[in-house]
Subunit: 259 residues, 2 copies
């Protein structure tokens, strides 16, 4: 691993639960030498990718990221485009909707919308890591990713987040086959208990899957009517989003024209 990768890998230790990390903690987390971590962080600081807080001297992610993310959005406006799609889909279904994108071999939630219709909602946080197994978004992505990629993911140990999480690779493969046929993934309580969610894959101009659009509802609200309405609305919204970002579904992606 080159020096640059090493430095950037340090940024991966930041998350919602740990927004500030001191030098020693970062040394322990990364397993690198303290002097190395110090030098790398100093360089990241010079370039504004991290900053040190005035109070203690712990590091946190820096403002330069905001600028670069805004430029990324200007070049590839997935998030800005998705916001409208998410809002409309939330309005239509009365439930929480979210978009997750594939980044390397990791799936991250990146944008979401709530519906004001119901007092109880599934809550979402942006920049959270989603597992592939056990989330409808993850399954939707896996089903349409390169077969090698799916196999790599399934060959790793699969943790059960809830008693409902499916962890047997063989049964997951069977589900993926079903998703490839239907074009939509369903998960009941596989990531958070009592959450029933649907997801469809999103494709880029090269017809590669880049993420998933999902609707998450409290299981108690999934009436027969909602079980009809949500998948139909979600398919339409997914097709719209893929289209708006200039993408296209791969040959063989099920076109559900019954909706």
């Amino acid at each position: 691993m080159g020096t640059v990768s090493k430095a950037l890998s340090l940024l991966a230790y930041f998350n919602h639960g740990r927004t500030g990390i001191g030098l020693s903690d970062l040394t322990r987390l990364s397993g690198m030498n303290k002097a190395t971590v110090y030098r790398l962080m100093s360089e990241l600081q010079e370039t504004g990718f991290v900053e040190q807080t005035g109070s203690d001297r712990s590091y946190r992610l820096g403002p330069q990221l905001l600028r670069l993310a805004a430029l990324r959005e200007a070049a590839v406006p997935i998030l800005s485009v998705s916001r409208q799609v998410l809002r409309e889909l939330s309005d239509e279904t009365g439930e929480t909707t979210h978009l997750s994108l594939l980044q390397g071999s990791q799936l991250n939630s990146l944008s979401h919308a709530y519906s004001p219709r119901n007092a109880t909602r599934v809550m979402m946080e942006d920049a959270k890591v989603l597992t592939f197994h056990g989330t409808s978004s993850g399954m939707a992505v896996l089903a349409f990713a390169e077969p090698d990629f799916a196999e790599t993911i399934l060959s790793q140990p699969l943790e059960a987040r809830t008693p409902e999480t499916l962890t047997d690779p063989e049964r997951i493969r069977a589900q993926l086959d079903g998703i490839r046929k239907s074009g939509i993934a369903v998960s009941v309580g596989g990531f958070e208990e009592d959450v029933h969610s649907h997801a469809v894959p999103i494709f880029d101009p090269d017809r590669k899957v880049i993420g998933a659009l999902a609707v998450a509802a409290p299981a108690s609200r999934m009436t027969a009517e909602q079980k009809q309405l949500i998948p139909a609305a979600l398919r339409r919204a997914g097709a719209t989003l893929t289209y708006r970002i200039g993408g296209s579904a791969p040959a063989g992606f099920p076109q559900d024209e019954t909706a």
Copy 2:
């Protein structure tokens, strides 16, 4: 300059006008060796900071930035907090408002809001670089930054973007004194012609200036009434924003209680 800084400095060549850059262009722009640029970009690509488009093989900013920016926002929610403040300020003034943040020694526009009240508006783009001289935001920041910082900026050649741009360091220093007294900066056509803008500084918990909040209006709409209303509303909004992000104005910052 270390390898990490070198790699990250390559990202600085991306901007609104140039969202995709090929290997050879990047080599020319950076003045580095082609093999070096190639290796650095390969590492940035591995970590998702850039990606290569399928069509030509040019690089563009990568999706990892979205994730990290979202985490930065989770830690320091300046943008999300500002959005509400910007919207309210736009509603109140009927004009375009924007927030810019200091990143290193560069001031960048990062968030904005329009008012639907008028058909003609000052248009804004996020992630644009603002000059310090000639923009009200830049002057507001300079006036309350460390004196060394202001002097460093003023000692560099100051480009005149319009005939109205003030480029004489001595006259700029005089203006800065005035801004320190009044707590608000005004610029008429210094960055874009026919744009009249006001700006106030925003402070962090260490009472350091981190950026500026601004209202930009077509010069033709700046009636005597607006010249009263806008500064008053802007001062209130600036104080609110500084407060909401946990910041405080430094001792001696003019508290305009006449509003």
